[in-house]
Subunit: 295 residues, 2 copies
């Protein structure tokens, strides 16, 4: 039986980190500026702490400065806003990232809106999303995970223009911006969500599928068009007693079935995951270059 | 043969204008405030002049104050910006509209961005579009033409949730925001554009079609699913020697063919056209209510 090409996000992310390392040192040599990323973690969530640690490590690996602020769960919103305002004004900081989710007593919109649009490397500001949606406008930053999906398609040379693309999921941070990006590249895009009827029929038409749902193995082999290209954003823990931690991670797409049908697919883990952090580094570099007018 | 229900935009627009008239006088009686719309026309384009005149007349018909500024074609951009800035500060003005297209020497982005987001009744500001795209956010204003399309579906009681919808065209002012609105109402949306392959196959799947292309009679009867609902935004002049002006207006959808296939359709003219101005009045009223905290 035919077997799909595996889209190796880990390898591509490494490639991109190497490119960023080169650029960071070129910038430092030329104008003495090192890009800086500020990361704020509020509260004690273990998963959030892990993400923040990984981001910090990734910064180090490419020579980007990282600044970390950790605040206790019961901090006041005004305290968080004060730090953001200081980072907005700090010339050593070119990107500001507030790790989500925030403690329940805080207003996410207030906090995210406080981040200067010039330093919003997550690209979640509505002004950025508006520009992403509009023809003839350019967002300052593209959200990292969807940008990583498109970057994988580019680096593997898959054509987007004129193709039928289906995005499953429409969240503000993945599905919706992924659809806008595909649209900008002239795909014909359909968004499938929880209210969609007969999603399998719609997905079956797609040359390109990006899935960001959060349901383990939801997309079966029979849902996929032979020869399609699949980008699986989902990261879903499923119980597995044979694994050291008692669970393993799977995507939204049933990998074993899909690889017999499609022409290319991202694995989980090792697909989109590593790309997200690489894109964060890329956005931080872009920001520093823009602020210092360095080409 | 079956024949489609005609979606009477002229009638619905009249209904909406009557509702607005009532609200405007209730507001005036209660707090002594009359909503005001400022319209700027730069240059001598005849079609633009007609649109501006119609907007002014529509304001009068519902009791909304209108303020008109006409500037010559060769005005400086700074002059236009000065008027916008004055309108931004003027408490009698609740909506500001700059008639497009602008003279070539002006920067459309600069000028549209100068309109205060609180008075951007056209809803074209990227911040508005971003909020429209994002779940959990509310735009201050929804662009008038797409809002009119959805309003027609609502007033005629057509269900949107769970339906397959196709929007043909993806302009910033009609197609793209129409798709975002349908998406917000839980339709499964596909956007068809000039790079789409086999558009007829995609359109044929749709329960709801909104067409905003600008190509006379492009969508044939054979493209449409029996029973579909069609909103035709296109307004296209075609030569016709039997008409007094030598031309008549047709939509993007071949009306004579479509009405034998679909369950409901808007005529051109008399469909979406009158709704656009009604939505402009509605946005202006909403703005005045919001600024004066009047419910
Ligand atoms: N690789 C990476 O770096 C990242 C991975 N992720 C992973 O991606 C996945 C999605 O994340 P996120 O976008 O934040 O998730 P959200 O929960 O915010 O959004 C999920 C989306 O999927 C839709 N959905 C849910 N159930 C179904 C269904 N049965 N059929 C069709 N659509 C459905 C929802 O529809 P509706 O809108 O109607 O509710 C919603 O739009 C998760 O597994 C997450 O862990 C997320 C971010 C980064
Ligand atoms: N009723 C009303 O009040 C209003 C009516 N209109 C009318 O609506 C129509 C569209 O207006 P507007 O949105 O401003 O137009 P634009 O010219 O800005 O956009 C047209 C869109 O149609 C797409 N398109 C062009 N040709 C084809 C084709 N052959 N197949 C599929 N898609 C195609 C274009 O695709 P691509 O992006 O790939 O170029 C583009 O996205 C016009 O007739 C206009 O007069 C407009 C505003 C208000």
């Amino acid at each position: 039986a035919a077997s799909a090409k595996i889209i190796d996000g880990k390898m591509v992310a490494k490639e991109i980190r190497d490119e960023i390392t080169t650029e960071v040192s070129r910038m430092k040599d030329a104008i003495g500026v090192v890009p800086g990323l500020a990361v704020m973690l509020i509260g004690e969530r273990k998963d959030s702490a892990t993400y923040v640690r990984n981001k910090k490590k990734a910064c180090e690996s490419v020579g980007i400065n990282s600044f970390e602020v950790r605040l206790p769960e019961d901090s006041a919103e005004t305290e968080v806003l004060k730090f953001i305002s200081d980072f907005n004004d700090d010339p050593a900081v070119h990107g500001i990232l507030v790790q989500l989710p925030l403690p329940k007593h805080m207003n996410e919109q207030n906090i995210l809106n406080a981040v200067s649009i010039e330093k919003d490397v997550d690209g979640f500001h509505p002004l950025n999303i508006g520009r992403l949606a509009m023809r003839g406008r350019e967002p300052s930053f593209v959200p990292c995970t969807p940008k990583g999906c498109i970057e994988l398609l580019h680096r593997y040379g898959f054509q987007i223009k004129g193709k039928k693309a289906v995005v499953i999921g429409r969240s503000n941070i993945v599905g919706m911006p992924a659809a806008l990006l595909l649209q900008r590249e002239d795909a014909t895009v359909t968004i499938v969500h929880s209210r969609t009827q007969n999603p399998e029929q719609i997905v079956k038409e797609a040359d390109i599928v990006i899935s960001a749902v959060g349901q383990p193995d939801m997309v079966r082999g029979t849902w996929l068009k032979p020869g399609a290209v699949v980008i699986d954003v989902g990261i879903n823990p499923v119980e597995d007693a044979t694994c050291p931690r008692g669970y393993r991670l799977v995507g939204d797409v049933c990998y074993e079935e899909a690889r017999k049908v499609v022409s290319a697919i991202t694995p989980v883990p090792g697909g989109v995951g590593p790309m997200t952090i690489a894109m964060l580094l890329s956005n931080t570099l872009t920001s520093a270059k823009r602020i210092h007018n360095f080409q």
